[in-house]
């Protein structure tokens, strides 16, 4: 599986014949930081 544009992960070679996960996760609570006047 080849990935473009991401300088940290350019080529991933499947080793164990398994599938892969890429996750981007957002904390929904951290919006309260700005509501409290803290700097994000």
């Amino acid at each position: 599986m080849e990935r473009a544009k991401n300088p940290t992960v350019s080529v991933i070679i499947p080793t164990y014949n398994q599938a892969y996960l890429l996750a981007s996760i957002l904390d929904q609570n951290s919006g309260k930081l700005s509501a409290e006047g803290k700097t994000l």
């Binding site: 599986m1 080849e2 990935r3 473009a4 544009k5 991401n6 992960v9 991933i12 499947p14 080793t15 164990y16 014949n17 398994q18 599938a19 892969y20 996960l21 890429l22 996750a23 981007s24 996760i25 957002l26 904390d27 929904q28 609570n29 951290s30 919006g31 309260k32 930081l33 700005s34 994000l40």
Partner: protein
């Protein structure tokens, strides 16, 4: 006070109709409202998140089978002309036809994530964008997602965590949701973000890494 009244109304409605029907009603109402606001439902951000955010090579998707879990009615895979199959899975797919999904260049399948009507290892790429917290049975849905991804395939997860449960988003989980997929799936990349805008996509696009060293309440 209004929230108390609305909450009580929802509980009564759910008791009378059953939680699934209430959930479906609110989901459909949400999308009809979005369509009224937007005119036509835009979907250009999906290509951006597949290709730019997750840094997939367009050529990698040539001839691949793609499944989008909890796809909604925007036409989330219309951009993926290079795929051999592009399927959006959503329990409300039939209902979404009334807001225009019949014109989309993709196939919709009416089903829940907890019971995906495809054989083991059928899909090369499975995505779940802002929908994992909508599922009724998180454990079973994760099991099904893992089941339908082919060896060497890819699962792309965009989700938020620490949200209060709602009728449309009953599943509650934290950072460790990723551990539920591993080691069945090999973890290539995991990024955590601070909330900085109203929408999930907008916050992730703002690209403010979550500071786990900052332990004060968010």
């Amino acid at each position: 006070m209004n929230n108390l009244i609305i909450g009580a109304y929802n509980r009564i409605l759910s008791f009378i109709e059953g939680p699934r029907k209430t959930k479906a009603k609110y989901e459909l109402k949400y999308w009809k409202t979005r369509k009224a606001i937007e005119g036509s439902l835009s979907n250009t951000h999906f290509e951006h998140f597949f290709i730019t955010h997750f840094a997939l090579d367009q050529a990698f998707l040539n001839g691949k089978k793609i499944l989008d879990i909890g796809c909604g009615p925007r036409g989330s895979l219309e951009w993926a002309d290079m795929a051999s199959q592009r399927i959006g899975l959503d329990p409300l797919a039939n209902s979404y036809r009334e807001i225009g999904t019949g014109a989309h260049r993709m196939q919709y399948v009416t089903a829940r994530a907890q019971r995906i009507p495809f054989p083991d290892g059928y899909f090369d790429v499975v995505s779940c964008f802002n929908s994992l917290d909508h599922v009724d049975d998180l454990e079973q849905s994760i099991s099904e997602i893992i089941r339908v991804i082919a060896p060497g395939g890819l699962f792309l997860l965009l989700t938020d965590v620490h949200r209060d449960p709602a009728y449309t988003e009953p599943a509650v989980f934290s950072w460790n949701v990723v551990e539920e997929f591993v080691p069945s799936l090999g973890l290539v990349e995991e990024k955590h973000y601070e909330k900085s805008a109203d929408g999930m996509y907008q916050s992730i696009e703002a690209n403010i890494p979550y500071d786990h060293s900052q332990r004060s309440p968010r």
